[in-house]
């Protein structure tokens, strides 16, 4: 040691060792990083990205579960889909559901949020109550709704009869079944939207309302148009897209309450996919249905990304 010190002069002994360690550290850290992300990466390939590629590939095959082999059949599944009346009914039902539930859940969520924010009393109570349906297991509540809509013993018909209106078989009549499911969907979703709108409303600076007041926007409507609605823009886009995507995914209520009936009036995309893929085990065809579903969902996501990007430029 001592002769090293004398030859190096005033340079401290620790220096050489630490520079070597510093050069080693990045490589060590690299290895550590791969170790940290390894499991996640593998699982991502196995459970997400792989299956995504798999489902697209499957849609071009005639694979059926349990079959010893399968063949590549190109676009045959898609041709069958386009020619199948059931598919078009299912798609129409899904789109109808989306078109009814999205404005309903978004509009009501916004309305409730505005009402709650416009006053000071009982805010926490209202927030809790309206959010409850979001938390409660949908299957359980759907069964409750089913009993509420029961033709003879249900609450809804009981109330109608008590005011002299005729009772109705809501879930058994093909004209009203999908509508009933839409009501349940709106009931379940509006609390979630309300919470997001509340967060958006709270973030609007109060001084803007003061400026609007001074500028002459005295009425609640003009304040809403000038300040509230424009500043809620980003939240609104988010809420609409999320509600839309969730509406496309509707399955639970359909499978438990109506199984797609009566007369396929409530058959929706994911339900059809489930039946084909897990009841009839026609994996290839079901995969094609999944791809159609994916296209719609990704389209909605793209719309959201485009609108969000535009808003960043204008804010």
């Amino acid at each position: 040691m001592s002769d090293v010190a004398s030859t190096l002069g005033p340079i401290p002994l620790a220096r050489p060792a630490s520079t070597a360690l510093a050069r080693r550290r990045p490589r060590l850290r690299n290895a550590a990083a791969y170790g940290l992300v390894g499991p996640a990466f593998v699982l991502m390939l196995l459970m997400l990205l792989g299956p995504l590629a798999g489902v697209i590939a499957l849609s071009f095959t005639d694979y059926q579960l349990g079959a010893p082999s399968f063949a590549w059949i190109g676009l045959v599944n898609y041709q069958e889909m386009v020619a199948d009346k059931v598919f078009w009914i299912s798609l129409t039902n899904t789109l109808t559901y989306v078109v009814i539930v999205v404005p309903g859940a978004v509009g009501l969520g916004l309305g409730v949020a505005l009402l709650i924010q416009s006053g000071a009393g009982l805010r926490g109570f209202y927030r809790t109550v309206y959010f409850l349906p979001v938390m409660a297991t949908l299957i359980a509540m759907a069964i409750v709704w089913e009993f509420m809509l029961h033709p003879q013993f249900g609450l809804v018909n009981g109330l109608l009869r008590s005011v002299g209106l005729p009772a109705h078989s809501w879930l058994q009549d093909r004209d009203t079944a999908l509508l009933s499911l839409c009501v349940i969907g709106i009931w379940q979703a509006l609390g979630f939207n309300m919470v997001l709108f509340l967060a958006g409303l709270v973030s609007i600076p109060k001084s803007l309302y003061d400026a609007a007041e001074i500028d002459g926007a005295g009425s609640a409507w003009s304040r809403f148009r000038l300040v509230t609605w424009p500043l809620l823009g980003p939240v609104t886009v988010f809420v609409v897209v999320i509600t839309g995507i969730r509406s496309f995914q509707v399955f639970d209520t359909v499978h438990v309450l109506t199984k797609g009936g009566p007369s396929k009036s409530t058959d929706v995309l994911i339900h059809t996919m489930y039946m084909e893929g897990f009841e009839f085990f026609r994996s290839g065809y079901a995969a094609a249905l999944t791809v159609v579903f994916l296209v719609f969902v990704l389209a909605l996501t793209l719309v959201k990304a485009r609108l969000a990007a535009r808003q960043v430029h204008t804010s």
Partner: protein, 384 residues
């Protein structure tokens, strides 16, 4: 006529009294600043004038008429907010146009698509365009008309907020700490701009700030508010030189005035740290406090002695902190010629002319004083 009168304005939130009876008359065309430390109620008072808050008791009159119950937009006032409160989704042009459109177009005409079809809308829009362009030319905003507030700098946003106020041609402008969000250099520049704006427009300006330098340099009159009360109103020079309350003396002027504990003797003489000051005050013998501004302290000679504990050399002037026996805080003295700075740690004598003293009683109220000859100290007569 835009004379603003505040009569016995009181305001309480729940159990706290924010304003405890404020009386103030602001003449037409005046530039009055409401100054005071944070929490003194000045912003609340401004909002009461604007109509954004209701006073608990008292009356506000604008142009001679009481305005209780009159909506803010109907009071014909304009307000510039601390955060500018510009509509982030509207362009500069549309931001400035909002008050004009609100006033001259009906709800139907303001509808996005239908409104454009109505004939009146075009005529009004043309009028508005002319007025807006005149204002934005004045404020040098013409290049930014299409931009959104998010794309502007702090100073530019401030000018848009001012433009939105000017275009309404109000009878008075209300400013709520408009320069607080700007950096120091910009603030100094904007002070001059706002003062020039006032000279050009000739309209009443009511300006709220916690920065006494802003108030001193821009206003015709300052109103000092402390703890919800209006403690003193007057021209800046008056308030600086002749404070009626020790809180005013301490708030106005930077650096802070030196305050020495003193005693008013029974014979009227005022003494401090055992030395008579050459002043006499009225009233009973009682303890008092003597305020002397740093620029009136003379170093090198005088009745008092202290040690230099700190020196702040600003370049153009310097402030010397003197530690004095018997005083808890250092005495600040201003030196105009930085070449004459005493060295750190040295002891030096200091004193001040009697007319530099502003005397206050224990409650903080000003005691009037007059100059008298200081009695000679009893000198030892050499007995031969």
């Amino acid at each position: 006529m835009a004379r603003i009168e505040l009569n016995a304005i009181r305001k309480s939130f729940d159990t706290t009294d924010v304003l405890k009876g404020v009386d103030l008359a602001i003449e037409d065309g005046e530039f009055v600043s409401l100054v005071g430390p944070s929490g003194c109620g000045k912003s609340t008072l401004l909002r009461i004038i604007a109509g954004l808050e209701q006073q608990s008791t008292g009356e506000v009159r604008i142009g001679g008429r009481p305005v209780d119950g009159v909506r803010p937009s109907q009071r014909n006032l304009a307000m510039v907010f601390q955060s500018y409160a510009l509509y982030p989704h509207l362009s500069v042009y549309d931001n400035i146009a909002v008050p004009l459109r609100m006033k001259r177009l009906s709800t139907l005409e303001r509808m996005p698509v239908l409104g454009r079809l109505l004939p009146n809308r075009h005529r009004v829009e043309r009028e508005i365009r002319g007025e807006i362009e005149r204002v934005t030319d004045q404020l040098e905003l013409s290049a930014f008309l299409k931009r959104k507030p998010g794309q502007l700098s702090g100073g530019q946003r401030q000018r848009v907020a001012v433009g939105r106020a000017i275009v309404r041609q109000p009878v008075a402008f209300l400013f709520d700490e408009p320069l607080s969000n700007l950096d120091a250099k910009l603030r100094v520049h904007m002070r001059a701009e706002i003062a020039q704006l006032h000279r050009r427009l000739g309209t009443t300006f009511v300006y709220v700030t916690h920065d006494q330098a802003e108030a001193m340099t821009m206003s015709g009159r300052i109103a000092v508010m402390i703890g919800g009360e209006l403690v003193q109103v007057g021209r800046p020079a008056e308030v600086y030189d002749d404070p009626r309350d020790i809180r005013v003396a301490e708030f106005v002027g930077s650096p802070k005035i030196n305050v020495f504990p003193g005693h008013l003797r029974a014979d009227g003489q005022v003494e401090m740290l055992g030395h008579p000051l050459g002043l006499a005050g009225s009233g009973l013998a009682r303890p008092c406090r003597a305020g002397v501004r740093p620029e009136r302290i003379e170093l090198g000679a005088g009745a008092f002695c202290g040690a230099v504990v700190h020196v702040e050399n600003m370049g153009a002037e310097a402030f010397v902190h003197l530690g004095v026996d018997g005083l808890a805080t250092p005495v600040l003295a201003r030196i105009g010629d930085v070449r004459l700075l005493p060295p750190l740690g040295s002891r030096t004598r200091f004193g001040f002319a009697p007319d530099a003293v502003r005397l206050f009683d224990a409650a903080g109220k000003r005691i009037e004083t007059r100059l008298v000859a200081a009695p000679q100290r009893a000198r030892e007569v050499a007995v031969v």
